[in-house]
Amino acid sequence: MNISRPKIFRPFREIVTDRHEYAKKWKAKTGGKVIGYFCTYVPEEIICAANILPVRIIGNNEPQTITDRLCSRNKWCPFSRNCLAEGLLGNYDYLDGVVLGASCFHTQEVFAAWVKHIPLSFWHYLFIPGSLQSTSADTCLVGEFEEFKSSLETWTGASITTEALDRAIETYNKNRQLMKALYELRKYEPPMLAGSEAMQTVLASQLMDKSEHNNILKEVLAQLSDGKNNVEPAIRLMVLGSENNDIDLLRAIESWGANIVIDDHCVGSRYFWGEITPHEDRLRAIAKRYIERPPCPTKDFPLRRRLPHILGLIKEFKVQTAVIILQKFCEPHQYDLPAIESGLQELHIPSVVIEIDAPISMAQIRTRVESLIDMLRVDTY
């Protein structure tokens, strides 16, 4: 298995594995509230400024039937159904509230079911314009963030001060800088960390206190900069597509002869790329970052911003091949597929599309990815 140094990333691995325990302990330690959020367009900075821990709601990639009555398995993507399953199974029983940043209909549907079937004292629906490129989107987004901020204030009974927002912005920006620094190490040949380790790091940051994540990440970076590199050279591969938090899948892909050197995923670069530029109007500054971040396909029109960004990453990270991961029934990413495939072809980047369900059918995926890697090996060596 091609992983750099397991010990270095152990803290993140443990948090990802015991994410519910982590949040419960945080709650016990701080006496604070925890909010579960759907979709990375939720402005966590505002939640953090209210001294609340934001944790991303994710499923566990296992087959389940508990959601069948509420979300047909022939229509809704397994990721969204599994998020709801975690809630219905009671695994998120420590949450005080939930918030949705509206993107695809799948998450909206699951959020609606969550609000109805898992009553909590707080829920909020953030409308995030799909037309983020439109000139009126920023005012709308600022308006949404203002409503969200005041509903949090009403719920907690405490106002969110400008100073608190500044602290949160600073913490989140720091995290983005550190994550970017970590990703820089993937540009090396061989990269200084494995793709699964990068994903673990991003996922942990979506599940834990950001300041704590920053502290651990600083140590990780310090340890990685000791000049040693345990990663073996291999085909440089990019993963992109639908939501995917399956670290085992990434490990498997790397074990078949590739190094995952970059991604375009929301449990990946899309989450932390792009910082907040300070502005007198804090919410406007936050909104600007969410408008300008690498877009999710549900927010990528009339012009395509996502494709040039992906192609840019391919060049920057010297990618040789790509695996496009699609959740079954994920219409947003299916729509982008033809344009992405032809963009890759123009750069002579061979790729395969793999469709994932819960559970993932590893044997099928292996055949396809291995033949892609083998083909490149023949060409390269």
């Binding site: 079911a113 109805k116 000139t135 009126s136 396909p297 029109f301 009339p302």
Partner: protein, 437 residues
């Protein structure tokens, strides 16, 4: 079981509806010659917006959609074309049909074979699939594209966003076409749009009557001018006449079908290419008398706390005066965010609604299609099924697709519908005559 035999009669305004539909189609091809705007896109919302430039045509993303869906061979070619370009089967089937037309070179082709060049694409983004289809068509054909977002939440903020977007859309269209927007035409069109949608809801309300003056199959056809041309005066005239006629039918006890042994609802989208599902219950004397697919396309409804659906009131009936562009834009935002149930996110659906409708329309059974292709209009489906079943309302669920015949097993579905009707205690009638139209 209600075995009463009712009087039936043809609808007098049926030919008028057909003529309006024909005119709309013909105008699509003549608009360019006449110097009218040609607006591409699934332009079914905010129709008044383009009316500020006078008459305009809307060929959707190609004019052959309905024809293609009805012809399995053509539909298959069309879907295969889209799929061969990489658009997978989980993408909305309607949009795959449009993408198929695009790659088959049909999008801008008139039936005579000449090319009709649209001025621009204006896509009210009722769903993600529409926005993305607009993008792809724009890229392929080099047509300027504007996406007009349809917020999924109703609040002061989203209303302000929508009105700003519409204002910006007007300016954008002026620039793209070098034409001047006429506020008076726009204001009149907004009033027409409102009136058609209110009238349609009022007509739908009358199907609560036993016997129902209209059945679902008729409603499915009658709603078309309301979808395509409700900003026009002649469409208002049609629905005023229809409203009076339906009222008279109610007064005289004229029924859409000879029997109403059971009154059925069809919720969500039906298979567009197999609407004979609406006739299947006739042999049992049962009839589909309503359902949200027709009620909400395009009806303006107020939904009360207890789940009651009531036709909305016209702005002037609520003391709202529409005499400026700003007021007209606000009235449009009000109409679509406040009164069109189909545009809501599941979160805001009142959980008592479905059962209350079933009660108010005196419905004996509900039939629903799980449509994997449309995530938008089928949102909330599972919740509704649970709600209906919990309320003890007989419900039949079948799987299908509104536009892709390959995802619909007609024989199995009709057989299931027969079993369902028999489970309601119905038997096939010896004496059975088809209703009109």
């Amino acid at each position: 079981m209600n075995k009463t035999k009712y009087k039936t009669a043809l609808l007098d305004c049926w030919p008028m509806m057909k003529e309006l539909r024909r005119d709309h189609f013909k105008h699509t091809w003549k608009a360019g010659e006449k110097g009218d705007l040609v607006v591409m896109g699934i332009f079914e919302w905010f129709l008044a917006l383009c009316a500020g430039f006078g008459d305009y045509a809307n060929p959707s993303y190609g004019p052959y959609y309905t024809g293609i869906l009805r012809d399995k061979e053509k539909a298959l070619t069309c879907f295969n074309t889209a799929e061969s370009k990489g658009f997978k089967r989980d993408i909305c089937a309607s949009m795959r049909c449009h993408l198929g037309q695009l790659y088959m070179g049909l999008t801008e082709k008139s039936p005579k074979g000449d090319t009709v060049k649209p001025d621009f694409i204006l896509q009210p983004a009722a769903c993600y699939a529409m926005s993305k289809t607009g993008q792809i068509v724009s890229e392929e054909l080099g047509i300027p594209y504007l996406n007009l977002e349809f917020p999924t939440k109703d609040s002061g903020n989203t209303r302000a966003y929508l009105t700003t977007e519409m204002q910006e859309a007007i300016e954008w269209m002026e620039k793209k076409t070098d034409r001047k927007f006429n506020d008076e035409l726009f204001i009149n069109a907004v009033q027409n749009e409102w009136e058609c949608m209110v009238l349609w809801a009022r007509i739908c309300e009358m199907t609560k009557t036993i016997p129902s003056p209209l059945d679902y199959r008729q409603m499915w056809s009658l709603r078309i001018p309301n979808i395509t041309s409700r900003h026009k005066r002649e469409t208002v005239t049609l629905y005023r006449i229809l409203f009076d006629e339906v009222k008279e039918r109610v007064a005289k006890g004229i029924s859409a079908t000879p029997y109403e042994t059971a009154r059925l609802f069809h919720q969500f989208l039906p298979p567009f290419y197999a609407l004979n599902i609406f006739k299947e219950p006739w042999k049992y004397g049962a009839s589909f008398i309503g359902g949200d697919g027709a009620f909400t396309s395009m009806g303006a409804w107020m939904i009360h706390e207890d789940g009651t659906w009531e036709a909305a009131k016209m702005p002037h009936e609520r003391g709202v005066n529409i005499s400026t562009r700003e007021a007209a834009l606000e009235a449009l935002a009000d109409l679509y965010l406040g009164y069109l149930p189909a545009s809501r996110c599941t979160l805001t659906v009142n959980q008592k609604e479905a059962a209350k409708m079933i009660h108010d329309w005196h419905v004996d059974g509900v039939v629903l299609m799980i449509d994997r292709g449309c995530k938008t209009l089928s949102a909330g489906q599972e919740e509704q099924i649970v709600e209906l079943k919990d309320a003890g309302i007989p419900t039949m669920v079948y799987e299908g697709s509104h536009a892709d015949f390959r995802d619909y097993n007609e024989i199995a579905t009709l057989n299931r519908l027969d079993f369902f009707l028999e489970s309601l205690g119905l038997k096939e009638l010896d004496e059975f005559k088809e209703g009109q139209q």
